[in-house]
């Protein structure tokens, strides 16, 4: 890292912050109503939203984490990206359009549509906040490690300061820009990230005559310890029966979690129609897919050109593979650009998570439970006029969430990031996805079924995580000295996902209250035809 120049890195990042702040302030001019603030006036086009989804989804864990995992563990790192991509088909085929047609701002809108409002909204908000918080913590904790690597700040105090700065910037984006500003930050970041990765990919391939086979060969040569094993599966997860099962569990959580991530679901409300929601998923799938193909080349490229020993010796270990590759290829300037992109990534993702969690609190808990909107007796339209409160509450919540995540990020600095992200995906796949699918496709599903699957999925997932080796009993655990790892797998998905589906079924069958057939008819017709769906706002 001798050639790395922290001042250059900070300056490039500063330029990014300046440009995005100007964009956010300009974008926020028309933000007046709740639909403006929480759903960007539903005025983004499908392609714009698709790019923003890619920006929301390709977190630092995807970029730095997957490239690093491929560099060190070869093929097993590639497996992550496949799960992350295939998952989008669930969103495309089963969730995106129907959700756009029936909801307004949050996941709770859809889940509570034909149920008793208060309990189901409270449950949906709880699970939204849980997923967002774990995801947020992972990003903030990641920021600390990234700082050490890119700015040469190794002291805990210095890293804490940088986490606080990242958090403060994020609060500013969300407060000023709302959903519209946040979306523009995602778009800018996604373009920079994908372009940066694309340039590096072509660069790496050019060094090997655009021959993937020779690149793989070079990666094998550079890794005498792993050798040929780098190209096949099993290096990371193949050791024991338990680790193989753990991988299967992770794979399930990845493929079923995406369509239950609240910050992804909320993005579908920023477009005017279900057709645009579909277009946005299509754009997202292509962009995300192409990006993961880039990471394959970047990962093996880092293995070949930088080498596993040097990556392991760098602060941040696997996470430093992509930045080190940038340094190797284009010197300090390319490193500075990639470092700025990585920072921007964290900033954009935390902003997206914060607005989601604050929307859920303002809309589900404050407006519909505490203040109990006028929604039940109409179809929700009349309520929109009364919006300033909701925006105010959302802004205050954003500040609180921002401060909590700064604190949490400082405490969690240095913790295992992958575990926090896996936790978020496991909760999303267990608590959210079964409930969403049942609500949309199963006529009999009722309030008690919804509560059983949300709370059941949430409780089972978190309990199994607490009892897992990720939390205690191993040298890599959160609490190294305690030992209560009764559940052998780090990822609970293989148990918690089927259990949550089962609980939703049992809760529905056992309950005496019947599904409301009138509401079910309304929801089904609306979800498929788009009749009565929220329209875009004309300014």
């Amino acid at each position: 890292m001798n050639e790395s120049s922290p001042i250059l890195n900070i300056s490039i990042f500063g330029v990014f912050v300046l440009i995005t702040l100007v964009v956010v302030i300009r974008a926020s001019r028309n933000t007046k109503t709740a639909a403006d603030y929480l759903a960007a006036g539903r005025a983004f086009t499908g392609p714009q939203n698709g790019i923003a989804i890619a920006g929301d989804y390709l977190s630092a864990a995807s970029f730095l984490g997957i490239a690093g995992a491929i560099a060190l563990n070869g093929y097993d790192g590639f497996l992550y990206s496949i799960g992350f991509l295939v998952a989008w088909l669930v969103a495309l085929l089963l969730v995106a359009e129907l959700l756009r047609n029936t909801g307004k701002y949050t996941m709770g809108d859809v889940l509570s549509f034909r149920m008793r409002q208060r309990p189901v909204r409270a449950a949906a908000a709880t699970s939204t906040m849980a997923v967002s918080f774990f995801y947020l913590l992972a990003q903030m904790a990641g920021a600390g490690g990234l700082v050490a690597l890119l700015l040469g700040i190794t002291g805990t105090g210095g890293q804490a300061l940088v986490i606080a700065v990242v958090g403060a910037l994020m609060i500013a984006y969300v407060l000023i820009g709302g959903m519209k500003g946040t979306t523009w930050v995602q778009i800018i970041k996604a373009v920079l990230l994908i372009a940066g990765a694309g340039i590096m990919t072509v660069w790496v391939l050019a060094k090997y005559g655009f021959n993937l086979s020779s690149l793989l060969g070079a990666a094998v040569d550079a890794a005498p310890k792993a050798g040929e094993k780098l190209l096949g599966p099993g290096l990371q997860y193949g050791a024991t029966g338990t680790s193989k099962l753990d991988f299967l569990s992770l794979a399930l959580a990845l493929v079923l979690g995406t369509a239950g991530l609240p910050h992804i679901l909320m993005r579908f409300y920023t477009v005017p129609t279900a057709k645009e929601a579909r277009r946005s998923v299509v754009w997202a799938i292509w962009l995300i897919g192409i990006f993961y193909l880039f990471t394959l080349v970047l990962g093996y490229g880092a293995g070949a050109l930088v080498g596993p020993d040097k990556i392991n010796a760098a602060p941040g270990k696997a996470n430093s593979a992509a930045p080190l590759l940038a340094l190797e290829l284009g010197g300090p300037i390319l490193l500075g650009l990639i470092a700025a992109v990585a920072f921007a990534t964290i900033l954009a993702v935390v902003a997206g998570l914060t607005i989601t969690a604050s929307a859920s609190f303002a809309h589900d808990i404050y407006a519909n439970i505490i203040k109990k909107g006028r929604e039940e007796n109409g179809n929700g339209k009349a309520y929109d006029e009364d919006k300033t409160d909701e925006v105010k509450v959302a802004r205050i919540t954003a500040i609180v969430i921002g401060l909590v995540s700064i604190g949490g990020g400082i405490v969690a600095n240095g913790q295992n990031i992958a575990f926090l992200v896996a936790l978020a995906f496991a909760v999303a796949a267990s608590a959210n996805l079964p409930t969403i699918l049942y609500s949309l496709f199963w006529k009999r599903f009722n309030t008690s079924g919804a509560l059983w699957s949300i709370y059941g999925g949430l409780i089972v997932t978190i309990t199994l995580i607490v009892l897992s080796p990720a939390v205690s009993g191993k040298p890599t655990s959160m609490f190294k000295n305690a030992d209560f790892d009764l559940f052998p797998l780090s990822n609970p998905g293989i148990v918690s996902i089927p259990v949550a589906f089962l609980l939703g079924y049992i809760g529905t069958i056992l309950s005496k209250d019947k599904a409301d057939p009138a509401k079910q008819a309304e929801m089904e017709v609306r979800s498929l035809t788009g009749a009565g769906a929220e329209k875009a706002i004309a300014h």
Partner: protein, 116 residues
């Protein structure tokens, strides 16, 4: 892009209307066309993904078999997951544009009256 403002709530269809539409032949057909595509295809891609994961997890030797140069079966299967994802996406969009959207639009216009 639609620039329509909010429809006032008094013009919203009542409960009976939703039930009538739900029972109509057009709606049954729309629902059938959607489910006939998304359920089997979802089953298919999830099974294909699971097969791939199980092979990567438990059939290391098979996946490490070299096909040409340093390109092995595992890499080809992995890249095929990308291809199948892109293909299913394209097929669904074509299906939706051709078979779902016109019917959904017709029903929507019936429900909301002649306006957009």
């Amino acid at each position: 892009m639609s620039t329509v403002d909010h429809t006032p709530s008094e013009s919203a269809p009542d409960a009976q209307k939703w039930a009538d539409v739900q029972a109509s032949a057009d709606f049954t057909e729309l629902k059938h066309r959607l489910r006939k595509f998304v359920f089997p295809v979802s089953g298919l891609f999830l099974a294909w993904y699971l097969l791939y994961v199980l092979l990567a997890d438990y059939a290391h030797d098979f996946m490490s078999t070299k096909v040409f140069g340093n390109i092995n079966v595992g890499l080809i299967f992995g890249l095929l997951q990308f291809v199948s994802t892109f293909v299913i996406t394209t097929l669904y969009v074509r299906h939706a544009n051709k078979n779902l959207d016109p019917l959904a639009e017709k029903l929507r216009n019936e429900i909301e009256g002649d306006g957009k």
